[in-house]
Subunit: 245 residues, 2 copies
């Protein structure tokens, strides 16, 4: 079987296809944690490609934490999890795609209203004013990955009032429009309430990671957002070096 040269004239590369195939099976639960996935040579036969190509894909999955590789034993499914650097702008699409999964976004609710007391507390807003409240879900493959609850201060971003946020998620939309000057994250663990449990398709009471982010632009509150992730699906990573001016 010589077959020199490139195959990838069609759609995505083989590398990508292997990656997403396997991620999909793991995330969907078809291959449960602990399950031994096929050996490199088996996959190379199955996909009709070289072991190197399979190796690169599996190595990437291992680095992403989806599988664990043991010499002589094979590769095993770990508990699915993803990582995001705390310091980086949260873009869930990029996170999901880094796992080799299809990203899908869904806007569940949208309401324009005069800020409630709770809204004002979240935004640290002194006076009442119009806000846009949004509720969204982010999917990785078929599975819900994150739940988003957001309040946007329309006094700071009036053009958001005309945006439906059906095609684009509010995060990327805002980043392209509003230069933020300061942000604050609050990170904590909570038990899923019924609403969140339903949205994320997990059991009520299951542990979740909540990341709340509040953003200011030139002293004016812009938005408050709360992301909720199922515990197994998410790890935040922050890396620093102290000595850097």
């Amino acid at each position: 079987m010589s077959m020199t040269g490139t195959i990838g004239t069609e759609g995505g590369s083989l590398h990508q296809r292997i990656l997403s195939d396997i991620s999909e099976r793991i995330m969907s639960g078809a291959w449960a944690p602990g399950h031994r996935i096929p050996f490199e040579h088996e996959l190379s036969t199955q996909y009709n490609c070289s072991r190197m190509t399979v190796n690169k894909a599996l190595s990437q999955l291992a680095k992403a934490g989806l599988i664990e590789r043991r010499r002589r034993s094979g590769s095993f499914v770990r508990r699915p999890q993803s990582q995001a650097a705390v310091l980086e702008i949260h873009d869930i699409r990029i996170e999901v795609e880094a796992l080799g999964l299809a990203y899908r976004y869904e806007r569940a609710a949208r309401q324009k209203r005069l800020s409630s007391a709770e809204d004002r507390a979240l935004l640290e807003l002194g006076v009442a004013g119009p806000v846009l409240a949004l509720e969204c879900r982010h999917f990785a493959g078929e599975r819900p990955f994150a739940h988003e609850q957001r309040v946007i201060n329309l006094a700071a971003v009036p053009e958001a009032a005309d945006e439906e946020f059906l095609a684009i998620a509010p995060g990327p939309w805002l980043i392209g429009r509003v230069p933020w000057s300061e942000a604050e994250h609050r990170i904590r663990a909570v038990a899923a309430d019924r609403h969140i449990a339903a949205a994320l398709d997990i059991a009520a009471g299951a542990p979740c990671l909540v990341v709340e982010r509040r953003t200011w632009s030139a002293e004016h509150p812009v938005t408050h957002v709360r992301f909720t992730y199922a515990a197994e699906s998410h790890t935040l990573v922050a890396r620093f070096t102290p000595s850097k001016g």
Copy 2:
């Protein structure tokens, strides 16, 4: 120049070396944003390796967002590492006292041993060596506030072998002695297992926030520590201002 086979008999792999060399130059500012880094074929000559090896390293850097690759033009350094160290180093005593509560520390277990495979994985330690494993509890008033599991690399901090850590917690002890050059935090939510539940006096299965920190001093792993907090007791806060970029 045939030179078949592997070179990497010494320490780290070439792949790793190329990766860290280039990251280092970018992070340090030696290669400013917009700077064109050497072509793949130049680097392969410089490191005396094949283009494939360089390609894999550069692809990884591109995926990490450090560089941008343009066909026919070369690879360019992207926006400056905007990361200003953000998450504050936890000193649990200070946190507890800021709440107006009495702080108490308790060392539950201490074991000097040759690093297990798990220890080495936690520390990202290549070779086996002596480590000190500790388990402690931190109290706020009468209630347990945080559970601490720590592994100290005795090769990096030999004087820790003689410390009992009965009167002083390992965190403050290490900070005063070892200048850390790099740290990585991993933050996630978990359900309390029986051991943790007993230590924190909460129900098994209750959501907990886990903060793991790994510290290096001049490339040498120093310590890995895992703090577990009962969900209600703890919120992490990180604040940033985007640096010029």
